[in-house]
Symmetry: C2
């Protein structure tokens, strides 16, 4: 049996059992517990030591549980449990008590596996530092894109390459809603209600639809991809609650699809300084882009790297069983390391790159404008764009007509796609466009990627 | 500086430089050398030690090389070079002298990074064993699917899950040819000639088009996915040289696409015994399957696992720079391990599962048959299938007519898709069908996946 005090694993002692503590027993935790118990022989063979589940900390002992899980494993005393384990799996979610318990586990020399994206995005640096200092592993594959192995490939497989951009569909709820709007033409509110009915969206969907969940994942992806510590408050975040059926239809018309993307991008400014932008917003993608084909509640992460070129990782982003796969992958990796006696190590943070505000980002834009049907409107608007240094790639005018008489109704719609422009220039352009007398309203401004 | 004798890395000494030897300087090797030199500072920051390229072994010192690579690094004495390095990168390809040099490097305590799928498929077990014994890492991410991080996710991220099936497009040349046939209607020979002209196929394309390259990768994927040692001679291998434009057209007609897949599958037989089938053959896939969208020379690996569900990894499968990314990922991982002082470890092989012959595989089939246009033919053929225990899912008859007069020409075409059936039953059925007097020829027999 391995030691479970604050001392490090002795390197010359044969480890034949590792004590595993589980914090939390929700949809993911109960699957993790079930597999640890059911597949104990397999896991022992792969790891080189038996993984002994020594306790499951829960808030309420009386809550209804999977009958297969032995009652005697449950405890409400998480504080003591974490001091008795070689590997602590934290699946409580939220900041506290998760944070305190993880720090206590690290202090007692345990490796920690967590899927807590909110905590990592909010206070990751403290956790990474403490784990490094204690020489234990802190792993969190389950925190981004559920079952999809994405963090380890970024951290290890691409460690000899230079990642330049990460585009991720990392929230299944919003992808489900946008996909439903795309295929049925439904409005956002109806698609959301349907998603709630089917269990793809929660009763309070704010964290998903406003992009907060995706923003936490964007911070983690930016940190790992660019070897830095990217704080959540530096992630620009826009959700999908303002995306209309008309936006989706216009995108379709243009051969595009709207996805909520978490984007982490290395940007070199005009003066040569290098920074990172992390952002979440509805984004237009050409239909032939690999991410455009990601349907329903699936997740995918698209990576551009200097040598590797384009890579994509696709799979289930949530759900108890898929997420348990990611958690157990981390557990087995930590266990192998403990068996072999090597020290742990979190990812490197060698690069010290600045976090860039959204204004410094360059991308293409789609802008939909309702205008008066008058001579010279197009020219006026084109001049405005040009004055602000924003180059137009395509411009299309649709004149509104009475469906029966085909008579002109006095208004028209402009659809403009720009070349890559700086966000701040575009914002200034849009503000000026709104001030034009011939402009009735700017209906949508959407960023375009993948063109 | 690290030691470079046969002794293992001392665990308490600070490592600040690691000596790297490169064997081979072709398209991948020259990119690896270039990045090691150009990005030395970045790599040092990520690794914790400088990676010093101490030599590049080549066959011919006079061959034309990248002018950026310092002449003094080149040597023809690979035998000595491998004894002087902490990390040896083998990119010679082929069995010898690669095998002898890798064993010599391991014996001298070096970690080895290789992209040599032929060697791994032919004699992997010897190499893994020697590396384990010497406590050094042997990594080979570049051997399967070029730049796509696939082996580490299988080995580490999915180590707590149970993989049930792997379907891979792992040969860019054949995917390019099949994709061209699909989009242009070209015959195989013409598509191959075009691929050769564009540099996607070699002058002697046998290894690619006959499936040998994919078979070596299937053996590696089967070994890693099922924690076993799968020998190349147990991989069933069929190439694409017999795939006709008519096959492609018929597939299209049925909403399918033909891909050359490397398949590794866990199969439970009727008596409960578990075995693994690894095979390579042209395969029909529904057009909506994620693998069907993999175009041109791209690669992708689709994994089904018990907990994770469906996963896909997509990217560039070949080319000097993309493959160099995979090689350097392995180099940085090995270097981090050496810096931290832990022992290396190759993948586990806890599972002892039998290699199954192709006859034991169950899949769906598409069969195209030219028959006489006579009453009762359909019934006769259907009865034959039924007698052999092969259940028909769909059967379609197209009667051949004169395009002008619409007169019946006396022959017809049958297109049959079966339910999942055992390969040996299907083979017996097809043999019996061929013997029927009313059958003119069995035009194509293709396996179907993803339905």
């Amino acid at each position: 049996m391995a030691k479970h005090t604050g001392e490090k694993q002795s390197k010359n002692r044969k480890v034949d059992t590792l004590r595993v503590a589980l914090l939390g027993c929700g949809s993911v935790g109960s699957q993790v517990a079930r597999i640890l118990l059911q597949d104990a022989d397999d896991l022992a063979a792969r790891t080189g030591a038996r993984l002994e589940l020594v306790g499951i900390a829960v808030r309420n002992l009386k809550a209804k549980r999977d009958a297969e899980l032995p009652q005697e494993l449950f405890t409400t005393d998480a504080e003591t449990l974490v001091t008795k384990a070689d590997i602590v799996i934290e699946l409580l979610g939220g900041i506290e008590p998760a944070r305190t318990l993880i720090l206590r586990a690290i202090e007692h020399g345990a490796c920690v596996v967590t899927g807590n994206k909110a905590l990592l995005a909010a206070d990751g640096p403290t956790l990474y530092e403490q784990a490094d200092k204690a020489g234990v592993q802190l792993s969190y594959e389950a925190a981004v894109a559920g079952a999809i192995p994405i963090l380890r490939p970024i951290r290890d497989s691409l460690s000899g390459d230079r990642i330049t951009r990460v585009l991720g569909i990392v929230n299944g709820t919003t992808n489900y809603i946008l996909d439903a709007m795309d295929s049925t033409g439904a409005q956002f509110a109806d698609a959301l209600a349907e998603a709630q009915r089917l269990g793809y969206a929660e009763a309070d969907p704010t964290a998903d639809v406003e992009g907060h969940d995706a923003a936490a994942k964007a911070a983690i992806l930016a940190s790992l991809s660019f070897h830095t510590r990217f704080a959540l408050e530096n992630v620009h975040c826009e959700g999908i609650s303002n995306v209309t059926a008309a936006d989706i239809a216009a995108a379709k018309d243009a051969g595009m699809v709207i996805k909520l993307l978490a984007i982490a991008e290395l940007i070199t400014s005009d003066d040569g300084a290098v920074g990172v932008s992390a952002r979440v917003h509805p984004t237009l993608l050409p239909r032939e882009h690999p991410l455009a084909a990601v349907r329903g509640a699936f997740n995918a992460v698209f990576i551009e790297a200097e040598s590797a070129g384009e890579l994509m990782f696709y799979g289930q982003g949530a759900g108890g069983t898929p997420t348990a796969s990611a958690v157990l992958g981390d557990v087995v990796s930590a266990a192998r390391r403990l068996v072999l006696g090597g020290p742990g190590r979190t990812e490197t943070t060698a690069g010290h790159v600045a976090a860039l505000p959204i204004g410094k980002v360059q991308t293409s834009y789609y802008i939909g404008i309702d205008v008066a049907d008058q001579p010279g409107v197009l020219a006026k608007i084109a001049a405005l764009f040009s004055n602000h240094g924003v180059s137009i790639e395509t411009m299309r005018q649709t004149i509104h007509r009475d469906p029966d008489s085909a008579e002109r109704l006095g208004s028209a719609e402009l659809q403009i796609v720009t070349h890559r422009a700086r966000e701040e220039s575009l914002a200034a352009t849009v503000a000026a466009v709104k001030d034009l007398e011939v402009v009735k309203s700017v209906k949508s401004v959407l960023r375009v990627e993948g063109v």
